[in-house]
């Protein structure tokens, strides 16, 4: 490879890595500063490494409630999607007349820009008496993100060898037995992959969380973090500390499982 190509390659990698990391590091450093310090030297290191901002942010707004609601909505919606997807994918392993039509119906939402549906979904949630509740939000996420999880799980389940199912049937295993004893265990890795991805997606959602909740008892981290900008406009480092707390869960999961997550978030799309 020529020297020019070599230099070009490293320039590309360096530039994109810097654009990705520098603002994040700035946010992290600024979360340790005082407000005066931030305005006096926005790009310097903090004078003292104190966790005051984090403690104050945690106490200023009920961050623990936001965190609980976010984690709850993310976990519940992922669980609902996994169960519904496992069941539906298993049903579609069988031959029946409307098999392909059913698959098409279950998947058509993946091509819809879901934000366009925010108005009717708002009224459906109100009608179901689930406005302003974590359960309502979880159900909406379960619906909106269902096609993504379903695609990953179905693709995985479809690789189950037909011979295994035949053998089980010959042994006299019933419809439910085969599902619980064979299909679910064999599809578990695919379900976990989908679960991680769905959890992160739901945890990070803002629009539906902000239109479907009004009380701190139901509001999520993404909604709550915004209050720090509007009500504490004079104290940016506090908002930064809250933001760092808000992104910590997904970043920690990512650091632990990065390869798996990269695979998970693109797995369904490429197949």
């Amino acid at each position: 490879m020529s020297v020019a190509a070599h230099i070009f390659r490293w320039v590309v990698l360096t530039v994109f890595t810097a654009i990705t990391l520098v603002p994040l590091l700035w946010l992290l450093l600024s979360a340790f500063k005082t407000n005066t310090e931030l305005f006096a030297s926005p790009f310097g290191l903090p004078a003292h490494w104190s966790f005051n901002n984090f403690v104050n942010a945690w106490n200023a707004h009920p961050l623990y409630l936001y965190m609980r609601n976010s984690l709850g909505a993310a976990a519940l919606s992922a669980a609902i999607i996994i169960v519904a997807s496992l069941m539906a994918s298993y049903a579609l392993l069988h031959q029946f007349r409307l098999n392909r039509t059913t698959f098409g119906y279950l998947m058509f939402g993946i091509l819809l820009p879901v934000n366009a549906l925010m108005t009717p979904i708002f009224f459906i949630v109100v009608f179901l008496n689930l406005y302003n509740s974590v359960v309502g939000l979880s159900l909406v996420y379960a619906g909106l993100f269902f096609p993504l999880g379903f695609l990953v799980i179905k693709t995985y389940m479809d690789t189950t060898p037909e011979a295994i199912l035949e053998a089980a049937r010959l042994d006299g295993a019933g419809f439910h037995d085969i599902f619980f004893r064979i299909i679910v265990p064999l599809t578990a890795p695919g379900a976990v992959t989908a679960g991680i991805f769905l959890f992160i997606t739901a945890f990070n959602e803002l629009l539906f969380a902000s239109i479907l909740t009004t009380d701190t008892d139901a509001q999520t981290m993404q909604v709550g973090v915004r209050y720090f900008l509007t009500t504490y406009a004079a104290n940016y480092p506090l908002a930064f500390a809250a933001t760092v707390i808000g992104i910590a869960p997904t970043v920690v999961v990512y650091i632990l499982l990065s390869d798996r997550i990269v695979e998970a978030m693109t797995a369904g799309s490429i197949k």
Partner: protein, 286 residues
Amino acid sequence: MRQQFQIALYLLPALLLVTVFFAIPLVAIIALSATAWVGIGVPRFVGLGNFLTLFSDPAFLLAIRNTMVWVVVGAFIHTPLCVLVALVVARKPPGWKIFRTVLFLPNIISGTALALLWYFVFHVSLGILNGGLAAVGLKSLARNWLFDPDTALAATLTPWIVYVGFGMVLFLTQISTIPQEYYEAAKIDGASTFRQDWSITIPLIRRAIALQLIFVVGYALRSFEYPFIMTSGGPANSSITLSLYIYRQMITAHQYGLAMAAGLITILIGVVFVAGVFWALRRAER
């Protein structure tokens, strides 16, 4: 017969989710887009009135224009950058896995946090951008990016343009399926790395490129966090998007019929673009 009942039973939860959160909203949006409704009472039929109102509302026209800019910028600036980085990383330079992990990082961070981050990148006195310009002696170029109608839209587009991780991984996945022999044969023929990428890799990842373009359209039509948090769609609606417009009609103005009409137009735009991508891919496959 018994098995058919069991199959139906297993399909039930999935069918319920899709019916309640996709099918019913879609039908509702089509039916109620022809009505005026403030949330209580009976929706009043207004025919095409909402659409006439929308197309004479400068904010809506700007929302459509800006959403188109999102699509165009995504297709012609963001996507080529994703391809470029994927081509570089696919050659497996030292530490390529670390680069892949770092570049993908923004995809697992919430749009809210990223928008907040870029709000401060463009901040007039605290921002890295103005700070950097001053440091290299270009202080005259520094400005209040987010409050200047000439730069607000570009500022809200910037994070989307530069976060290439998702597209990169999409392309890397397909590049990894290309047989190594193709490149070895090209090397024997004396083809440069650039030539190999241009004549072998890019044509062979056209399916991934089509997929990426579908994601770009979807993302553009859903773009909400960056304008909402960085500029609130301003100044003077210069950075408003369709999602933000619907949100405003619904939450601020309580014009639900109008919001649904705007939603329907958003969906139709999506259908047209996605069909266009499929059509282009068909032609390329021939």
